[in-house]
Symmetry: C2
Subunit: 195 residues, 2 copies
């Protein structure tokens, strides 16, 4: 049920603050990590920011390749999201055993524009070109990127909007509260403008 999302609506995928999985690849190596800290920064062109710590293998791959993908894990993947956020991919430089995709049997498919490894079973995927900002990267671990492809699972994101319902609860996004406890957007409320 994977469908392309218009780039002008890509920011809606992360507007509500979900935890994301950052996937990356370079020179035959690849990795995936969880990141609770990301946000859109611009509608057009669609741009995002994500915090990638200096200790991570992902950071090496992103800097070397100039690209990264944001994958949005869903409720059915809570254990996976927590695990790849807790275990480092460091060491994957020298051993295929350390590749988190392989270690945890994570199925990946190629991103449509940049060929990045995207995580199957997620509910949205954004491929991004890194916008190099050495100072922000160094001082705040903040990486800016331009979204160049966006896709979502039509069972839960349709007509440019998230549709979280009781009948698709397994596909709801994850919002990390800490220590593996995730909130899920199980209810919605429609606000009205005050007079």
């Amino acid at each position: 049920m994977r469908r392309a999302v218009e780039l002008s609506k890509a920011n809606r995928l992360i507007n509500h603050g979900p935890t994301v999985l950052v996937s990356s690849a370079h020179g035959g190596r690849r990795n995936v990590m969880a990141a609770a800290w990301s946000m859109p920064v611009e509608f057009t062109p669609p741009r995002v920011a994500v915090v990638i710590d200096k200790s991570t293998f992902t950071r090496e791959l992103v800097l070397a390749s100039g690209r990264f993908a944001l994958n949005l894990p869903c409720r059915a993947q809570a254990d996976l999201a927590y695990t790849v956020g807790s275990v480092s991919g460091k060491g994957a430089e020298d051993s295929t055993r350390a590749d988190k995709f392989a270690r945890y049997g994570i199925e990946a498919f190629d991103g449509p524009l940049l060929g990045l490894p995207l995580v199957a079973g997620c509910v949205a995927w954004l491929e991004c070109r890194l916008i190099p900002e050495p100072h922000a990267q160094e001082a705040y671990d903040t990486f800016f990127g331009e979204v160049v492809s966006a896709q979502a699972d039509a069972r839960v994101f349709d007509a440019g909007r998230w549709s979280f319902r009781a009948d698709n609860a397994d596909l709801h996004t994850l919002h990390h509260l800490g220590a593996g406890l995730f909130a899920v957007p199980a209810q919605t409320v429609q606000a009205e403008l005050l007079p």
Copy 2:
């Protein structure tokens, strides 16, 4: 039920991606706007990033004062959050009528460290000193700040953790899906590490 939150745990307040209200004041003028785009960027010292568009009155006040506060509205304030995110405070330069606090009868109290106007009825409050980053502000509308005071409503944030339950549903945070539709973290799921 407002209680101080240790600064080392301040980032947990926004780790799960809630919509925030940015409040600011300078020279007798004040304003409040909604922002869906914010995130922590560092644990210690606690630092955050928030996107503040060039068209906003808030941006003028933040740049002039070097400070801003993040207030986390709750489900009971959905109409308020949507409204202050849809109506500009521009014009408040010359008229008290345009002050959104006054216009919508929003009760405010003084922040404990910086004296910023904090929004009553919210469930968490962070006072921040702006870390001037002219390039990030100009290129990405991204403002970095250091959190210098943090408070939360103990009915929903206790012992350093959010506690979203059915019996405090009105106090759940808001996560904007678009057009005034907010998701609320009405359920949680505890993940386990994969072997």
